[in-house]
Structures are given as structure tokens and as C-alpha cells.
Amino acid sequence: MKKHITIILASIFTVAALSGCGSTNNTTNPTATASFDASKAITVISREDGSGTRGAFIELTGVQTKDANGTKIDRTTTEAEISNDTNVVITTVAGNAYAIGYISLGSLNDTVKALKVGGVDATVANVKAKTYVLSRPFLIVTKGEVTGLKKDFINFILSSQGQKVVADNNYIAIAENATAYTSTGLTGKIVVGGSSSVTPVMEKLAEAYKALNTGVTIEVQMSDSGTGITAATNGTVDIGMSSRELTDAEKAALTPTQIATDGLAIIVNKANTTTDLTKAQITSIYIGETTKWSDIK
């Protein structure tokens, strides 16, 4: 008798568990969330304090303001969910019909929808034409005079081949009509470190460079802009990567070279009926003034 009860219980539990799986799978299915209810609260998703992407976002949108003394204030609402990873932001927005987040344009994929900003599509062409307002520079920073292998690698990045790698990865090349690079057969090792936003494209650049110069090793260390700048200053890396402009103090010690431009994409769930926000509306959402999708003016 007991055995029968056990078997029945086990099968009920299994069925319940499986059906549970089914219902949760539906949330990633657009048809299940197609009924978008604009009266619901907006789930604001932000990156962590100090992140290069957040720094670029709050600066570009005006979430960050300066008070009378020139002190910068980050007004991001405390109700904003914090993710310390671009992929977590994307997954969260993909799973929540009422969420809004921001990511690098280069990291955008089709599981989420990128909004127009001020009526302009978030595309490479628009960033290049400077009509899309949410964009930032990708810099490499070097200390002192650049010679030998380092100089050769930087020449490669700014050459037509290097800039093609940049463009192929959805970032915006900065050097139009760049000259072609020819290998001079150098050997050795370069250590590159810094911004996690620049790292993916830097890895691709390093690969392409190594294919042309087989005797070279390039180590790309991912951390963040601040760490990259510090490491370049004290010489622990040969080339630092930064996804923000240098401060005046940093400029005194280092030489920045822009290698690409990145756009920020404002992303929402695919079920969201909103297609266009102005910079002011985005700011209003992120400082917690606008809390419902229907309240966006």
C-alpha cells in the first residue's frame, strides 16, 4: 500500500515539476507576453556604480548632473536593479516585459529590442553620422613614447585591416580611408589590459595581428577602465584600455588614442510597445520620476 502511495506521489511531483518547466519556458516566448500592459511599473535596470558603461550612460543621458560647486551627482534611482554584467542585463530584460536597460551597441542581440533615441535608430550608421546621441569613445592609453612592437600594434589597429575588425564587431571605426598595414616581422610580447567593454574587440584585434605576425604574443587582460589606466600608468600593462575619456590628471601621465566609437543601446523587452524615447524621457525613467510605461510623456 505504502509503495503505491509513494509511486503515485512521485509521479504527481514529476508531472508538477514538468508542467512548471513548461510555464516558465513560456515567459521567453514572445506570444505569451504579447499583451503588454502599459499601466505596469517600469523595471529600471542599471549597471553598478563605477562601471564604464554606467559612467558613459549617466554622462550621455544627463542622469548625472553637476551641482553649484561643480560636484557630479549620479541621480540613478535607488529602486533600479543593479547587474554587474552585460549578459545579465540582456537576460533580465528578455525575461521581463516591463524592464528597461542599457548595454553597449556591440553587445546587442535579437533577444531584446533596442529603442530609438529621439527618433534615431540605434545603428552604427547613425552613431557615425553623430545623429545618435548615446555614444562614447574606446581608447587605448600608453605611457611615454611608443616604440617598437607597441607602435607596430597600434599602427595595425588604426590601419584599414584593424578598423575593419572594429567595424565587423559592430563598433564604429574612427579612421576612414586608413592605410593598409604590412607586417615588419617583429617578435615579442605585449600585455594589454583594462575596460571590459573594449576587451572583446581588443581580443579580435590581437588575433588578427597575431595572424600577420606569428612571432608575437598578445595578452589581453579584462578588468575595467580605471584598472587599465592605473596599470598603464605604473607600467604593469603595455597598453591600457578605457571606455571613457581620461581625466586631466590621467592625461598628464598617459597618451590616449581613440581606436573606435561605441554606441549605447537602450533595450526593452520585445513585447514592449514603446519604440522611441527622448533623452529626457530616459533620464526621467532612470532618476525615478517616471515609474509607469503609461506615464511617459
Binding site: 509513494t6 518547466c21 516558465t24 553598478e48 535607488t78 536593479e81 543593479i82 545579465v88 533580465t92 525575461g95
Partner: protein, 292 residues
């Protein structure tokens, strides 16, 4: 013969020191961690002001002047851990009882490795599971919107502490001498009654240990919690809204912090360390009382 004996004695003495050295290594690790935490954390606390640090409700490290109040994170850790206990302990304890006294002999060899596998799943995998399964599910349950919440973190941690609770409690229940059980049966108790009224009270100390270790794991868990808790650094009493825990606070901001901000994060570690210390000390007091 005499020489051989001497050699053996020498060997024994050498091994004696080898064992001593290994024991000292772990002690040295603990002492070094304490030293690092306190020398970096205490100055930061006094710079911020201990009262302002622990009871401050605003955490804005890049504001000017920066505000370092970790009360929201302390409360966050407590809520999430309490939730994990509410969900994990009943399930874990009943599973342990089932495994020790009710499980058919044929199923046991299948169940046991599965439960052990639960302990071996990396926490980032738990986190991802939470992010793509629990969070959207709760989001729907809340009527649309974000599922990242205290509840999501509690459920996930509740699952994560199961193996700790099950394995230690099961061992504790098995360790109760058989004559307790037989005696109970001889007095006319049913199987269920004997297990719940005799074996379980006798295994109380082991069960408590499992719960405390479970709490320790829940309060110290980081990667999984970051992905499902929402990480808002403010106080809330709503279990359907998000919160930031002490561990999450450290990991999220460590990469970008510098100066006093970094020291404040290490000081957050000190608070966490003190939490664990209190937990362990209260456990040993409890166990001593049981023995006494």
C-alpha cells in the same frame, strides 16, 4: 634491531612536525585573513564613523561627499538568509529523515548521489538557473514586472543549502544508537512516532549544526544571489522587491573601487566576518550545553 627502532622513532618525530606544520598552515591562513580584514577594514570604519557605517541607510560611494551606510545590506543579508532558512530547513530536514529512516533500500543508492550532486553544482550555475527560471516565473506571479526579489533569492538559497542540511542531518539521525529506536518500538510506538519523537530529539545537536552551516552558506553566498536579488542598495520590507546583500555589495563594486570606497568594501567584509563568527560561537556554545 636497535638501529631500526631508532630510525622508526626519528621518522615518527619528523612526521610529528609535518602534521604540526599542516595544522599551522590552516591556522596561519585564518590569522592572515583576520589580519588583512581588520587592518584594512577598521581604519575605514573609523574614518567613516562606525555608527554611520553600520547604521547609515544611504550607500552612495561615488557621490560627493560619499556616503557609506551598510544598514540596507545588513538587513538584506538577514532577510535573504531568513527566507532561505524558512524554505530550506523544513524541506532539508524532512528529506534527511526520509533518507535515514523511510527510504526503500532500492531507491537509496539512486537518491543519495543525486543529492550529493546538488552540493557540487557551481553557484554561478544556480544563479543562472535562478535568472532564467525562478525570476521570470516570480515576475509572472507578481503580475508582470521584475521577479528579482528577496523571495527569488530566498528560494534559490533555500535550494542551495539543501545538501548541507540533508547530509549532516542524515548522518546525525543515523548516528543515534539503534536501541533508542528499538526501545521506542518495544514501548508500542509506531515507526513514525519513534522516528519523530525519539530519534529526532536525540539527533538535535547534529541537526542544529546542519542548520547553522546552512545559514553560513546562505549568508556567504554571492554569485547566485547577485543574479537574482536585484541588488538595490536601499531598505525594503517587501519580499517581492529586490535587495542587496553584504556579499553582493563587495563583489559588485570591488572591480571599480579605489581609496576609501575599496576600504569600505573591505569593512563590509569585516561585518560579514563578524556575522559568521557570532554564528559559529553560538553553535559551539549550544553544542557544549548539549554535552554538559
Amino acid at each position: 634491531m636497535n638501529n631500526k627502532l631508532k630510525l622508526k622513532k626519528l621518522f615518527e618525530q619528523i612526521m610529528h612536525y609535518v602534521f604540526l606544520l599542516t595544522a599551522l598552515t590552516s591556522i596561519a591562513a585564518v590569522l592572515l585573513i583576520c589580519y588583512f580584514l581588520f587592518t584594512n577594514g577598521i581604519p575605514a570604519m573609523s574614518k567613516i564613523g562606525i555608527f554611520k557605517f553600520i547604521f547609515g541607510t544611504v550607500w552612495k560611494p561615488s557621490a560627493d561627499p560619499a556616503q557609506y551606510g551598510i544598514l540596507p545590506m545588513i538587513i538584506g543579508s538577514l532577510y535573504v538568509t531568513a527566507g532561505a532558512i524558512v524554505i530550506g530547513v523544513p524541506i532539508g530536514l524532512l528529506t534527511a529523515i526520509f533518507m535515514a529512516r523511510f527510504c526503500p533500500r532500492r531507491i537509496y543508492p539512486v537518491l543519495k548521489p543525486i543529492l550529493e550532486l546538488l552540493a557540487g553544482v557551481p553557484s554561478i550555475v544556480y544563479g543562472f538557473f535562478g535568472l532564467v527560471v525562478i525570476v521570470p516565473f516570480l515576475g509572472q506571479l507578481y503580475g508582470g514586472g521584475s521577479g528579482k526579489s528577496i523571495l527569488a533569492a530566498s528560494i534559490l538559497l533555500g535550494i542551495m543549502i539543501l545538501p548541507t542540511i540533508i547530509n549532516i542531518s542524515e548522518a546525525a539521525i543515523r548516528a543515534v544508537p539503534d536501541n533508542y529506536y528499538e526501545g521506542a518500538l518495544a514501548l508500542g510506538a509506531t515507526h513514525e512516532r519513534a522516528v519523530f519523537k525519539v530519534l529526532l530529539p536525540a539527533a538535535k545537536s547534529g541537526v542544529m549544526t546542519s542548520v547553522v552551516l546552512g545559514i553560513g552558506r546562505a549568508i556567504g553566498e554571492t554569485m547566485a544571489v547577485i543574479m537574482v536579488a536585484g541588488n538595490q542598495a536601499r531598505i525594503t520590507n517587501d519580499i517581492t522587491s529586490g535587495i542587496r546583500t553584504l556579499t553582493a555589495n563587495i563583489v559588485i563594486e570591488m572591480g571599480y573601487s579605489e581609496g576609501l570606497h575599496k576600504e569600505a568594501l573591505i569593512a563590509t567584509g569585516v561585518v560579514l566576518f563578524v556575522f559568521i563568527l557570532i554564528l559559529n560561537v553560538s553553535l559551539s556554545i549550544f553544542q557544549n550545553r548539549q554535552r554538559g
